[in-house]
Structure formats: C-alpha cells, structure tokens
C-alpha cells in the first residue's frame, strides 16, 4: 500500500534535496486534487466514462508523449559539460520513451479507433500551451527547471496511469492490449522515478535552481491539468 513509493525516491539524506522534494510533493498533491475535479477524470471516477472519452484522452496523450522525447533531447543538447551525468540520464530517458506514442496509437486501434484519426488528431489548447512551455524551457542553457516538469509527468506515470488504466478497462470492458500505454507506464515508471533523486542531487543545492525546479513543476502541473480540462469528447 505504498502509494507514494513511485513518487518519492527512498533515502534522500541531503537537506536541500529534501526541501525541493517537499515542495514538489506539495505541487504534486495540489495537481492530483485538481485532476480529480476535471470533467474527464470525474467521468472516469463516477462511472460515466465512454469510449469516445478514452479516444479523446489517447489523442491528447499522444501529442504530449510524442513531444516528450523531443523536448528531452533538446534539453539534453543544452546541458553543459559540467553536468554530463544529467545529460546522459536525459538522453537515456528520451531514447527509452521516444517510441511510446506508437503504443498509444496501438491502444487507439485496439479499442476500435482508426489509425488515421489519432494520427490526424490535433492538440487541444492545454496541449498547445504545455508543449510550447516545455520546448521553451528545454531551449534555455542548462534547463534544470525541467526536473520539476519531469517530477510531475513521471508522477503521472507511476501514480495515476495504472489506476486510470484499471478504471478504463473496467468501465469500457476493454482487453489489456487496448490499454497498454496506461498499464505499461504504471508498471515501469517507478524505476524512472528512482533516477530522479540522482538527477536532483547535483543541482538542487543551488537555491535559484531549486526555486526554478519548483516553479517549473507548478507551471507544468497547471498546463497539464488544462490539457485534461480541455478534453471534452
């Protein structure tokens, strides 16, 4: 029953890192509460979720997942030689995820949608704002603020994805291969989160960077929630 396990890495001795993690945890819980109140998630938790809602959700997720590896790659290219480890981690991360949008397409098709429909889907207003924000952040030299954004997005994978996937399956009576992205992320993202503390440790001791990380988490959380708010099937 360790529901936070995926979110907060274990055994972090550094006070500066603990301070950032605490602020990030506050941002996360506020974000999670905001998600609960969005029309899409309310439909899901109140048993009103339809296949059209799932398809609309997949279309937006695909936009964001496809962009994810791209902004991570761009961010890596903006990290200087003094932070090579961080650059390596981001690059590994980008490689690990840059094909994930294909999973979403497969889910879309397996749940009865047409491949052309999801591929032709366009970003909603929240997705546009989120994407623009992420690429803007990634374009800054040493874009360490993005660690805050990753905390939010990885948290979604390790905490929300499996729960949402289970509810979608139950509600729509779908086979697992039609919900593979949500279920797969629920299984795998706790490992991703373990690398988060390692990434945080070398940069969180700088107060300005720590503040930037938290601010970036706040903005990312708000824009991500906007993306979900804007999904109306």
């Amino acid at each position: 029953m360790n529901h936070m396990q995926g979110l907060i890495p274990e055994a972090v001795p550094d006070a500066a890192v603990s301070d950032v993690l605490r602020k990030l945890a506050v941002v996360w819980t506020g974000f999670e509460a905001r998600l609960e109140a969005t029309p899409l998630i309310r439909k899901l938790t109140r048993g009103r979720f339809e296949l059209a809602d799932y398809h609309a959700f997949l279309i937006q997720l695909r936009q964001q997942v496809q962009d994810g590896a791209l902004w991570m790659s761009r961010a890596a290219s903006n990290i200087d030689v003094a932070h090579l480890e961080l650059r390596s981690t981001l690059m590994r991360h980008a490689v690990a995820e840059h094909r994930d949008f294909r999973l979403l397409e497969a889910d879309f098709v397996a749940s009865g949608g047409a491949l052309e429909t999801i591929q032709a889907g366009r970003k909603n207003i929240g997705s546009e704002a989120l994407s623009a924000w992420m690429f803007h952040q990634a374009s800054i030299p040493n874009p360490f603020g993005l660690l805050g954004a990753m905390f939010i997005i990885e948290g979604l994978g390790s905490i929300k994805a499996a729960e949402w996937g289970r509810r979608v399956r139950e509600r729509l009576s779908l086979p697992p291969q039609a919900v593979s992205f949500l279920l797969y992320h629920g299984e795998n993202d706790s490992e991703h989160m373990q690398t988060f503390a390692e990434m945080l440790a070398p940069v969180a001791t700088c107060p300005a960077t720590a503040a930037r990380i938290v601010r970036c988490a706040e903005v990312t959380a708000r824009l991500y929630a906007l993306q979900i708010e804007e999904i109306v099937a």
């Binding site: 029953m1 979110l7 055994a11 972090v12 605490r22 506020g30 729960e163 509810r167």
Partner: protein
C-alpha cells in the same frame, strides 16, 4: 488570532463503553451478515492493526448507552479532571459522525443527558474531523470572552450501523450472501466511545494545562468526491438527487444507501492529499516538525501510517517515531472521539512536561478533510 485571549485545556475525559473486546470476539457483538462470518474480517484487522475495541451494545443487540450518553459521561469525566462541575459550564459543543436522532443536533442530545440549566450549544456533524470543528467553536468562544468554561465532546456509536439488519435485504449483500468490501471493512475498523475536553480562559492552578495555540481545518471537498459516506449508493453519492431520502427509507435500504461505505481507490488519492496539506504547513513554517514533542495522529489504518512515515522521511518533515502516541491498537478507531481518547491517555500516561508541544492531526476520509491542533503544555500556576 492574537486578539483572542489565551485558551487552555484544563481537563480531559474518555469514556469507553462495556468490556474491552478482542479480535476473536468482536464479530459476536456485531452479528454475522447472512448468518456466516465475514471472509474479509481477518484481512481487515491485519490491515488496520486494531487488536481491541469497545462496543456500546451486547451480542444480543441490546444497547448499553446512547451516543449522547457516552458523550455526557466523557464531559463529566473531563469536568472532573479539571476540578469543575456541570454548574461551571457555560458552553457545550459536540461532534459526531451520526447522532442518535436524525434531528435535532447532537449537542442538544448531550445537553439533555448532562441536564442542568441554560447553555450555549453547537453541533458539528462530519466524520473524524468534526471533533476539531467543535473544538474550534469552543476555543473561539472562550478566546473571545463569550464563555469562561466550554466543554467540547465527540462520540461515536458506530457498531449499531454494523448489525446484520442494516445490510440484509439490501443491494450491499450479493446473491451468495456476502457483504460488499466497501461496507464490510468499516465493520472491522470502527468502534464506540466518546471523549471530551474542557477549555478555560486561564490554566488550572494545579497540574498541567494545555494552551491551545491554533486549530486549522482544511477541506478539499471542492475537488474530491465522498470517500467515506452513508446515505447514498456508491454510484449516486455525488448526484443531487442521489441522497437516501429521494425515494424514501424502504427504497434506500433496498439499494444499500443507508450503510457506511468506504471508497478504497479514492482513499489512496485522499491520503496523498492529506500529506500534501501537512507538507504545505511544514513548508510555510506553520508546523516545525522538530519543535513537536508529541504527535497524536488519528490514522485509521496501520498501512496509512507506513505510507505517511515513508513520505515524511524523504521530505524532511518526519516527526521521529518515538514521539508518536496512539491508542489505536488497544482502544480501536473511534472516529471523531479518537483524538480526545488519545489526548486523555497521553495526559494520564504522565509523558508530557511544561513547555512541550503536542500536535494533533485528524485526517478525515469523508470528503478529503484534515484538521490540525497545536497545544503547548503549561505547568501549575501556583
């Protein structure tokens, strides 16, 4: 709130009905739904870590007390520990999850049991955090100078809702006679009792008093659906026409709308929301974990505690475990009454010294709420 005069808890009282009942005997008191033991019971008890509790009823269903009478007894005990009597009281606030009557309020029922002349009363109905709502009224009444001596009490008589007749013949029992987990878990978690404290505008001359530094309550109901509730089915709990009264009491029973239920999936998210509120208070400097000498956390399950401990450690917000004090294992989870039962036990254990700070945390899964109360121990004034 510096414009209020200081307020002190000068007496505490806890009333636990009947005998202490161990895990092996508890189901005999609640009765077996469908005539057979619960398949969930052992697992629920392992999960919540409760080893004993008290019930205000007998195995044959006979009641030993009412919710109001237990609260009145707790108030008498609290007044006694303050060296006061009923005649000294000029304000009474009372909290409960479900009172004896649907109307009027619980405080009126407690006043009725206490007897005596006119009193200012206020009733608070929620789940666990209702205790701190009622406490805040008493604290502000004394702080504002409207009352010189206020008692606040919280009580629960949960076991009566857990008897088989509350489920049988309704939709919460399936074709094989099994009660839904959402309802059955709470039968093995909640029990009966009452607690009370007395608040005055000055510390008592002898012994220890507890200065109430502040009481904060945060509801997140604007974002969360009901997580522990009674009065609607799971599917109807957020509907405006979903309440039990819409189709009358007979239909309500048939649909399973009258029993207490818990949404376990939502609870996981609500737990994180509680932690978020606490961490926010730590971050804002409202709570300094290092300056807390005793933590009374009303957690309703052992696993909840493990989860809290884990996150608090990694975010440097942990109050070391030796400073945690609880009576959950031996007295059970008594809902709103638990915080006063724990505070009374802490004071009787002679564990507190003048100058020390006691932090009470009361999470309520009802609809995502959490309450905090900070106390400072004050020594004898003469």
């Amino acid at each position: 709130m510096s414009y209020l005069r200081p307020v002190y808890i000068t007496g505490t009282g806890a009333f636990l009905p009947g005998e202490h009942i161990g895990n092996a005997d508890m189901e005999a008191f609640l009765g077996a739904v469908g005539g057979r033991p619960s398949p969930l019971g052992r697992r629920a008890l392992r999960w919540n870590g409760i080893a004993g509790r008290h019930y205000a009823l007998e195995p044959d269903g006979r009641w030993l007390h009412s919710n109001a009478s237990m609260c009145a007894d707790a108030v008498r005990l609290a007044l006694g520990s303050a060296g006061l009597g009923r005649e000294d009281l000029d304000c009474l606030t009372a909290a409960t999850t479900q009172g004896d009557l649907l109307a009027p309020g619980h405080a009126s029922a407690v006043h009725g049991e206490l007897g005596g002349g006119g009193l200012e009363v206020a009733s608070f109905q929620s789940v666990c955090a209702s205790a701190l709502m009622a406490a805040k009224y008493a604290w502000m009444a004394v702080g504002a100078g409207d009352a010189d001596c206020a008692a606040t009490t919280a009580g629960e008589f949960s076991s009566r809702w857990f008897r088989p007749e509350f489920y049988e013949g309704g939709a919460l029992v399936d074709a094989k006679g099994r009660l839904s987990m959402a309802a059955d878990f709470l039968r093995f978690t909640l029990s009966d009792g009452a607690g009370a404290v007395v608040m005055e505008g000055r510390p008592k001359p002898d012994g220890l008093s507890l200065k109430v530094e502040w009481i904060d309550l945060v509801s997140l109901a604007g974002q969360f659906d009901p997580c522990m509730w009674a009065g609607a089915t799971a599917g109807n709990r957020t509907e405006r026409e979903g309440a039990w009264s819409r189709h009358g009491p007979v239909a309500a029973h048939a649909s399973g709308a009258l029993a207490l239920q818990q949404d376990f999936h939502l609870l996981k998210t609500v737990i994180r929301a509680w932690i978020g509120v606490y961490l926010q208070k730590v971050d804002a400097g409202r709570i300094d974990p290092k300056a807390v000498d005793h933590l009374l956390c009303h957690y309703s399950a052992r696993s909840l505690r493990e989860e809290i401990v884990q996150i608090l450690q990694t975010t440097d917000a942990m109050i070391p475990e030796p400073r945690w004090f609880t009576t959950l294992a031996e007295s059970g989870n008594v809902g709103s009454a638990s915080i006063w039962i724990m505070l009374d036990a802490l004071m009787r254990a002679n564990r507190v010294k003048p100058g020390e700070r006691i932090l009470c945390i009361v999470p309520e899964s009802g609809r995502a709420m959490v309450g905090f109360m900070m106390l400072q121990v004050v020594g004898a004034t003469r």
